[in-house]
Symmetry: C2
Subunit: 195 residues, 2 copies
Amino acid sequence: MSRKGKLFIISGPSGVGKGTIMKALLPIMDGLKLSISTTTRPARRGEVDGREYYFVNDEEFDRLIAEERLLEWARVYSNRYGTPRDFVLDTLENGLDVILEIDIQGALKVKQKMPDGIFIFISPPRMEDLVTRLHGRGKDSELSIQTRYEACRSEMDHMKYYDYVVINDIIEDAVDRVRSIIVAERCRIDKTIEE
Amino acid sequence: MSRKGKLFIISGPSGVGKGTIMKALLPIMDGLKLSISTTTRPARRGEVDGREYYFVNDEEFDRLIAEERLLEWARVYSNRYGTPRDFVLDTLENGLDVILEIDIQGALKVKQKMPDGIFIFISPPRMEDLVTRLHGRGKDSELSIQTRYEACRSEMDHMKYYDYVVINDIIEDAVDRVRSIIVAERCRIDKTIEE
């Protein structure tokens, strides 16, 4: 009767508001463990090692890859991001659900290794809104925004590999939709035996 | 771009609390139309024709069957219950979601005709609780309760044909779970083309 945990993957174009959704979601969900990514990107002001990311240097990241301790990793712009494998597998084995917030490249790689994962695509309501949001947070150069806009257009094509799409129009609604997906998936009847 | 509606089927053992869940659910859900069943069962006190059921006599019910105007029908104890076909199909065609509250026999028949429906099984937390609830509502004889208890046991075997199971432990939680399933299914990416 020991139930294995379920893996939820929150993904979507950069700047779409994944982080904001996660921040609102985690305090209201029981039994859902956040997987913290490892990155070579320098910590931004206010970020804490082991909270937003595990911050490592390039040599350490190379070692994690060599030792196959990353479920996936990807280069985004000039930095690398990876998902620590052991935390995910151990937590699922212990019957707890795990949630990953990763970029689309990473999500597609996780899908190859964890096909039973539940893949949720966070989509901007309109492409224009993504640009406005990137401008608004004031962390990104004009070139970076343009690059991301183009990347986003092609990333939208990947939506078909996902199980759900959540349009991030109003943040409260988007959080409710993601929460609903998790609640619903926990009620889902496992048909792996019948089918 | 015209999206067809989705069909949700709420089902489970008699007396499990389906009606209570529906009553709490409908006012909080947009775009969800309740399918009213047709029955030969006499109206109980407080029931209104066209609200709880369409109440018809045996001859009228025979005619509905003959004219194939029922999506499914079933005999439960000494009465017949059926789902008016046109309302369901027309509403879905108009892009609105439809919800049916029917017994297990009926749900399995609907599944044959509408395999894309989303089938939600409402389960008692424990079998004992079902008996307590049937006693509590004071509408059922001891024999009727015993009959239902036995029926419930065998009905639980049908759970595997459903997509979701919602345990009706605390009513607010059960309503939240059913609502979550509907919200989640509306976010689901249609894979019928890819697969």
